[in-house]
């Protein structure tokens, strides 16, 4: 029986592991954290249908049951190819052997403190979208807002499409996340105004535009086209932001109870490290580069090493699942045909 080692226990790793096991392969899933689920496990509700994130993770976990050997709290230390197989040494000193490797090592969120002007980690009421999901989950939203201004701001493209931080790419899902979170805030705090500060809104997915319209028409969310230049704190502890409203053609200064930063994707430390260990190619965005951007999107340049999910760039959950399944088919084809990718 062919062996596959899947590295990364987020949505891509879990979905691909379950699919590979269903196809009859022996699968080992290696995850550095102490539990599965990746970033989605931290999320509360998902766009575009407000579905609990928990449902996705629970469903994926259920499909792994008994079919996949899961190694939690485990990191890959080295990988070597011998006689068509990969020897993977783990930090537990155990060495696993596999006929194929699937990298599903995902992304990290852009560290918001790098945008120093927004004061994350300095001003008390500046948080990230991920922090807000945690607040939603804890049910403590009202404790977080002071009620001084009854206004909340959401900043788009924090660490994305930003030459200053060296990330020129779009992280794709932040726009719709901002719309989703704005609606959730208006639902939970109807007396609050919610402002989204954006460059342009990229509602690329099915129903995303509907969500954007719903935010405006049903929930009265205000969208201001302009980048926030700086945040600060006034004597009452409110966050004061400066932004240019480029449609009205004038600068704005607004005091808020809470400022939420929609941080984008960056390659995870694991993705960068695995790429270095295997000497894989990286794109200009520092995510892993597939063997061919159109035809071999799940292949790396190395024979038997495949890629799935956000290790090759920002993706939504639905896209990640589709990508994971595509990677599984490529692995099956590889075992069947022993297709060799020539450099």
């Amino acid at each position: 029986m062919k062996n596959v080692i899947v590295i990364g226990g987020g949505v891509a790793g879990m979905e691909s592991s379950a699919q590979l096991a269903d196809m009859g392969y022996q699968v080992t899933l290696v995850e550095k954290e102490s539990k599965l689920g990746g970033h989605v496990d931290q999320w509360d509700f998902l766009f575009p249908n407000h579905r609990p994130a928990r449902e996705i993770i629970d469903s994926l976990k259920q499909r792994l049951n008994y079919k996949v050997e899961v190694k939690l709290g485990t990191e890959v230390e080295s990988m070597q190819r011998n006689n068509g197989q990969y020897a993977v040494k783990l930090n537990s000193t155990e060495v696993l052997h596999a006929d194929a490797l699937l990298l599903a090592s995902g992304f990290d969120l852009f560290p918001a403190q790098k945008k120093e002007e927004y004061g994350y980690g300095i001003y008390n009421h500046v948080i990230t979208a991920a922090d807000l999901e945690e607040i939603f989950r804890s049910g403590n939203l009202r404790k977080v807002v002071s009620g001084n201004t009854h206004r909340i701001g959401i900043v788009h493209c924090v660490g994305s499409r930003d030459e200053k931080v060296g990330n020129e790419y779009c992280s794709k899902v932040c726009c719709v996340t901002g719309v989703k979170q704005a609606i959730r805030l208006r639902e939970a705090l109807p007396e609050y105004e919610v402002f989204n500060f954006y460059m342009d809104l990229r509602m690329f997915g099915r129903y995303f535009e509907d969500l954007y319209r719903e935010a405006q028409e049903k929930w009265g969310v205000q969208f201001v086209r302009g980048r926030v230049s700086e945040a600060s704190e006034d004597v009452k502890g409110n966050v004061v932001v400066k932004v240019e409203d480029t449609l009205a053609g004038r600068p704005m200064k607004i005091s808020l109870d809470l400022l939420i930063l929609l941080t984008g994707f960056i390659p995870s430390k694991g993705t960068s490290r695995l790429g270095d260990l295997l000497q894989l190619e990286f794109g200009s965005d520092r995510f892993l580069k597939p063997a061919d951007e159109h035809l071999l999107r799940n292949h790396s340049k190395l024979e038997g090493v495949f890629l799935a999910g956000a290790c090759t760039g920002p993706r939504s959950i639905a896209e990640t699942i589709t990508d994971a399944r595509a990677a599984v088919l490529e692995i099956a084809a590889f075992f069947r045909d022993k297709v060799t990718v020539h450099e």
């Binding site: 403190q113 120093e116 002007e117 004061g119 994350y120 980690g121 300095i122 001003y123 008390n124 700086e230 600060s232 704190e233 006034d234 004597v235 004061v240």
Partner: protein
Amino acid sequence: MKLEGKKRIWSEYQKEIADDHYYYARSCIRQNFFPASETIFLRIMQQELGKDIKDDARHTTCTGIAYHSDLVPFDTTMTVVARLFSLMTEAGYENYAPSCITSFGLYSEILETWEHHPEIEARVREHLWKSTRREFKKPKNLAHASDIVYKFRHRIAEKGKYRLVNHKTGEPLKVVEHIGCHYSRMFPHKGVGGAEYPYVLVGMIEAWGGEVVDYPERRHCCGFGFRQYLVKSNRGYSISSSRKKFESMEPFKPDMIITNCPGCPYFLDRWQYAISEMEGKTYGENGNGIPVLTYEETAGLVMGYDPWDLGFQMHQVSVEPLLDKIGVPYDPYAKYLGVNGKFIGTPEHPEVLKVY
């Protein structure tokens, strides 16, 4: 406010500041605006800290104000600066210490330009040679004079007589720090603490016992902004910028403002008078203004120098309420005595802003 967040940023933006042997470049305008500041810096460096610092009468403007007002082209500016570096080289120094923030920003810009474009440096060397027959070495260390005071802030505190503390209540004074725009905004790594949360003055305030006020318009321009003031018809921008800052800091009830730029203390000091005349508004307690001090004046205050030797009589906003808070004695009758002991006259008192 989470101080740990700021500390993390401060730790990322530390710079090398030479320990001794500085070539000092004075500012074009500071000796008129706050005339004791540079003298006090030299006194502290030479007499209190025993440092070797060269005060060279031959140096000229760096052209910064004219350069940033689009009056002098960059090639001319670079050649003038090259001459200043040649004076430093000739005097046998390697550590350049400008008094002016605009100069510091301009030197940083020029050195960075030369690093990336050696052909420009070669061209400037040729210009300098053709026009003056001079040659130069680039500074090994470039530190603004406020960087140097920051470096020795704890020694100044140890030697000092006073702290930035209300001597009656024991409470730290609330201090607004204002950093010149050209200090670190262009090159965050060339300033102590970076561009968004500069630490250079905060470090002094902390070391000398004060409490720093972080207010919403902290990063906003003082009001000078070069053409905002130099072009007469633009001066509304200048005073509105200063006013915006005062309105923003007022709720924090600051006891004083400290600056590290030639223009900033001037505009923050003088415009308080103008606003009081135009709007009947003052920003300190009981009709007083908020005293605006340079970091050298503040260091001199901490050292216990006579307030009139620090040039406080040249301030528009009276410093006496601050001296009273700290417990610094002063002779009000000596305020307007010249260095020769003769009375130089009392300026006219404004109608709204209280002066002493």
